[in-house]
Structures are given as C-alpha cells and as structure tokens.
Symmetry: none
Subunit: 219 residues, 2 copies
Amino acid sequence: MRLVIARCQVDYVGRLTAHLPMAPRLLLVKADGSVSIHADDRAYKPLNWMSPPCWLEEQPGVWTVRNKADESLVITIDEVLHDTKHELGVDPGLVKDGVEAHLQELLAAHPTTFGEGYTLVRREYMTAIGPVDLLLRDAAGKSVAVEVKRRGEIDGVEQLTRYLELMNRDPLLAPVAGVYAAQQIKPQARTLAEDRGIRCLVVDYDALRGTESTDLRLF
Amino acid sequence: MRLVIARCQVDYVGRLTAHLPMAPRLLLVKADGSVSIHADDRAYKPLNWMSPPCWLEEQPGVWTVRNKADESLVITIDEVLHDTKHELGVDPGLVKDGVEAHLQELLAAHPTTFGEGYTLVRREYMTAIGPVDLLLRDAAGKSVAVEVKRRGEIDGVEQLTRYLELMNRDPLLAPVAGVYAAQQIKPQARTLAEDRGIRCLVVDYDALRGTESTDLRLF
DNA sequence: CGCTATATGTCGCTC
DNA sequence: GAGCGACGTATAGCG
C-alpha cells in the first residue's frame, strides 16, 4: 500500500464526468492496483476512485488510472508532501455476525418458529422474478412464502407481495400465504404487510441461536 | 489527517457484530473524527469504519471509537509501523456533470420518442406521493406517465406502479398509461412491468443527443 | 461472466 | 428526525 499526500487535481471521465480542483489530498494506491483519493473528512467514501481491475500509469506530474471499460482518472500532481510504501500482505478478512444470511439459515433449520407442524420445502425458492427466501408448508400442507430481513422495512413487503402475486398463479402452489420475518419490523412496514394479509413475525435472533446451541447440547 | 500503519485487531459492535483478526492495516483518522480501517485491496470500501459524528479515545494499545447510537469500534494495536499527521484543510469539493437529469431533459424535449403524436404535458408532474418524471398525452389525447431511469430495475417499476394507481383515481387524468424509459432495462424489471401493462422503452442516449445536435444544426 | 440481492450501504433532499 | 430516491453505488453469491 502506497500513501501519498499531494496537492493535486483530479479529473474522472466514465459513467459521469467529475472534477476536483487543485488541493492537498491523500492518494491511496493499493496492492490490487486500485486508487482512491480522500479528503480530510468522511470515513467511508473517497472523493474519487478507480476500482480494480485497473492500471496506473505514472508520469512526472500526471498519474493516469484506466480500467477495461475505458473509464479514466487523471491525477495532476502539483506537489508531493509525503510518499511512503508499506507491505501489508493479504488480509485475513472480516467476520460478520447477525446478517440476513445467518438469520435465514437459522429459520430454515427451525421451521416450527413459524408455527406448529411447519416444514421447510426449500431455501431460495426460485421464481421468474427472483428467489423467495424460504418456502414452507404449514401443518395443513398449505404453501407459505417467507421473506427474511434483518430490519423489516417497506421494500421487503413490496418484494414479498410480488412473489406472492406470482406464486399464487401457480396452481401447484396456490394458495400461498406470506410471512414477513425480521428481527425488527417498522410500524409502516407492519401496517402495509398486515393490510395485504401478510403475517409479521418478529424473530429473536439470540433466542433462536440459543435454541441452536441447546440442540447442540442435547445431541 | 492521521495515517497509521499498524498490526491491529478490530471489533465492531453496532448494527451488527464484526471482527477483524490481528493483521497489518491502514488506520485513517480524519479531521472530522471519523476512523476507517483499510486492507491492501478495494479502493472504495474500508474493512471497517465509524462515520462522523464520533469520538476517538486513545489509550496505549487500545483505541475506542464511539458514536451517539452507542455503536463502538475497538481497535487493539499490537505494533505501530508508521504514524504521520498531515494538515489538508477543507476540500474545495467535487464538481459533477450528471447523466440522469439530462436524459429526462432530452426526453421532455423529444416526446415523439415515445410515439407518433405524443406531446409533453409536464416534467416532474406532482402527485400526492411524489413527482412523476414526465406526463405526456398520446395522439389520441390519453394521459401517459413516464418513469425515467438510467438503468431500469425493479424498484422503478414499483415506483411507477404507485404513481399510476394514484393517478388512475383522478377522473381528470384517468385512464393513465405507463411507460418505463431507461437506457437499459433488466429482464426482471421488464417482466414485472409488462405483466402490469407498463410499456418498456429502451432509450438510446447518444442517438437522442445526436437528434438534439441535428436540431441545433437545422435551426 | 452476467445477474440479483444485500449493505454497518452513504448521501442529499423534503417534510 | 424520518422517509425516499439516487449513487460512478460497491460487493458477495450463484447460475
């Protein structure tokens, strides 16, 4: 990783055209060839950048970064204030906990969370407009489509509504009931869901994980 | 802006829980108090971060960054390999030249792109739930609502559907037809749109701009 | 490689 | 502060 502090001007031409007037900034050149330009505010977002794969051509006073799509980032350097290089190696990577995938996994493993006698048919059940998170059958054998979200907001209800509309036209599945399962459901989302006959289920992630470890202890 | 290269371990507890094992990384501390942790790849996204407003408490070997929502980032530092500070001042900021607004503008100027005899009623036609990008009338005088997007995805169809539902309740407008206009329309979005009776129109931005310059030459 | 859903999305605007 | 839409969204996962 190379760290350069320099007075520079930046011109991006690609999906849009953007220009940064001459000023001191951080230029970050990473081992994968990517380049980003940071100002002294905002943690997350660089002012400008080029994602890998891309190639940096360095000439005195002008850096040009290009990618396959012929987007370009031209960095005109007026004065270099700092320039160091550091070997970091490959990062072991981030371990996340509490994301949607894990929640879906837990619910798939414990379909009775949705009710007595519920069984799992499929995770990621494919439809023409995308995959339904969980397809279950209730005790009576009726199809139940489940949309899983960490935070239940209105767009998740829309998503499930689309799936239900489509699935209910399939005579092999219909009638299909809908359940919106999330760790937290916003009032607006709940109102819309219930108005459409979709059941809302607030899932206690820690309790579910607890069940999991209880199972592990039992067997 | 402070640049620190250090062997560190990071633990984030907040909207989710995340952990980074001990490894050398870049710690970026900005003037606004924000902190981000970068590996030697990916230009855009830090491995972990805390956005401003937030506060860094530095103790020997342990940095703790906290925000109002009581999210926390704990950085355990094993070894500091580099530590420099640089005054950058306030950035003059980015100048963008967008595409999206221009596309709407071009279509408004050339309503016959949608069909023979089409005329523009209004751009940004206000409804109770937001502005419709374009309101047109076809050759027969029937209302046509247009949603313009650079890339046509499914949420644009939902948006247009909501507008159409509302507008079709207005006796002065109804019946209102819908057109989804974009430079590119994803198959999923097309399927949903056509299923709802919404016409999809793929717009050639360059051709349209070409028409524009032809017009300019003619007059 | 292309497509789709997710994101600690972030950012900027309106209400 | 919440809600909504755009973003050069980026990025991961799967066919």
